[in-house]
Symmetry: C2
DNA sequence: CTGTTAGCGCATTCAC
DNA sequence: GTGAATGCGCTAACAG
């Protein structure tokens, strides 16, 4: 068990330097020597102590995952995808959640906890202030964004504006004119957050169609939020015939609220979401779907490539596709 | 930026040992000295390098989270709860997923990747072979289980048997007799997995009621699995009037399948799940609910207490409650 | 209360 | 191709 490199060296009849080289696949070691060292190491169950290795090399083989939540669909999937991809390349995933959407004054994201612990950072759908991004840069480690990121930084995310256009167009083609929008969070701090961009896209699409853009409510990114938002919306504007929700989870809330008000879907109210949530099928939710697991994987591979000194694209735009189910239908006459 | 303890020592006019003591709140330091050191450290933005600290102390202030998935509701919530609790006590969460439920031969959980990286381990709903548990023990770090764990190990989990009884009793009281069970995974390796215990509870409850226990199908722990299982079930046994699914995600699959077969819920088929998934409300799913976030929190605090040398209970059994909605109703006549 | 010293376990020059 | 020596940055005994 508690064997060190010196034990291996002694048992193999070589120096610790040779053990180090042999085990890490470095050149300048005879095949015979390498094999012998490997055999001894395996027998002793030797594994280099990570902290010692880190101290000596300055690298940790660990990537920090920064996210507001784990329990929301999008985030859980990005994290899972990233962790799998990292493990494939012998890296660890260190998880940090910062619930910046919590009620009350926004608490600053404490980036200092990452210092010295990671070789790179993945920011997962986390709206960051410029100062916070600067703090992360001060770590001196590569930064990759998923789901939302500054325009000039390496970011993996779908074309949020296009998503909104796709959803609105679908509703327009069904004859809807009174189209409401359930956004995620109202006062995001970063102009590049998904919430802000998607809202922008919605406004744009509506304006292009000559429609009003004041039918917007905040759904807080979750099902209960979407439900409350819908009640609030329909109290004020009972003539709305379609709702575009910025996530499937909120769209499900719209469905719940509609049922509570005795509205039939889609006869009285059409609902479309974003994500392609597996459970959307349960209520026949129409959605603009994306492959989130793949985005996590992709982003993880990007950080590793940056660390390896390889060039990476500044922006990866995964495809989306409209999945039409039964929650959207022709506008009532 | 890149300041070391020596820089702080020099700037504060003390030795590195004093800096170390002062910053960590150890005794034998004058308040005045402590304050001065703190001020200097803050100004220089000094943070002790984790790897150096780990190498010297043998502790990492990191807890390993082992889980089959992140994207499933139960696991996402446990992980989120644990991470939050750990961060509150200045610990990090290192995430490891091992998809032991993957198709094909079960791959052994590679515990060696944890060696030297963690001070403790949280096993989240992961069915482990005895040998794998032994491997984890060999890390020489405390082990706490959540959602499933060997009877003699510190485990946070609901009373699975009681859960099954609760669900079955609810259906019995509604007059159901042909009650089917959608389990998670068929061939779990550990006798203490949630799947095995819950199945046991179901058998027990059914037997007590004098009912047959052969109406069991495998739902693979997710919605599509629950759906496929239901079709398979109803093809063979069209007279089933109620289904008890081992998770809400699978229960949703039952709902989808029922709709696909033109069955009304609950008039033709009653469905009950386990978890209290937020989205269950969208389809009016009856469920045996548990507070999973709290379980993650609790488990995290337990590992930290074991590390601190405090005594901990060998078993924590969080409460569950039956949430009756519209997916269960009287058995058809 | 504070400073000096010796490691923690490994990677990495530089010699050979 | 291999070994000896040095240092990564910090903590922990031990002196004082």
């Amino acid at each position: 068990m508690g064997h060190g490199i010196e034990d291996v060296a002694r048992a193999a009849g070589v120096s610790t330097a040779t053990v180090s080289r042999a085990l890490r696949g470095l050149p300048h070691v005879t095949d015979a020597t390498r094999e012998r060292v490997r055999a001894v190491a395996a027998e002793l169950g030797y594994v280099a102590t990570p902290s010692a290795r880190s101290l000596a090399t300055g690298r940790t083989r660990t990537i920090g995952l920064l996210s507001p939540w784990v329990s929301h669909w999008f985030f859980a999937n990005v994290i899972e995808g990233a962790e799998r991809a990292l493990r494939e390349q012998d890296h660890d995933a260190l998880l940090y959640t910062f619930d910046v959407f919590e009620l009350g004054p926004r608490r600053r994201v404490e980036t200092h906890v990452l210092r010295g612990r990671v070789d790179g950072v993945l920011v997962v759908g986390l709206p960051l202030e410029d100062a916070e991004v600067a703090d992360l840069d001060a770590l001196g480690r590569p930064l990759v964004f998923v789901g939302a990121g500054p325009t000039d930084r390496c970011t993996v995310r779908i074309d949020e504006v296009a998503v909104a256009h796709l959803a609105v167009r679908h509703l327009l083609e069904l004859g809807h004119r009174r189209i409401a929008y359930v956004s995620g969070h109202p006062d995001d701090v970063s102009p590049w957050s998904a919430a802000v961009l998607r809202t922008h896209g919605w406004r744009e699409a509506m304006t292009e169609a000559g429609l009003r853009t004041d039918l917007q409510v905040n759904g807080n990114f979750d099902m209960p939020g979407g439900r409350a938002a819908t009640h609030e919306l329909l109290d004020r504007h009972p003539d709305v015939t379609a709702v575009f929700a910025s996530s499937d989870e909120m769209a499900m809330g719209v469905v719940v609220a509609a049922r509570e008000r005795g509205l039939r879907i889609p006869q009285d109210l059409s609902v479309i979401g974003v994500d392609g949530h597996e459970l959307g099928e349960v209520v026949g939710l129409t959605s603009v779907a994306q492959d989130v697991l793949a985005q996590g994987r992709e982003a993880a591979r990007l950080v590793l490539r940056v660390i390896a000194g390889e060039p990476v694209p500044v922006r990866v735009t995964p495809p989306v596709r409209l999945v039409v189910r039964s929650s959207t239908g022709p506008a009532p006459a």
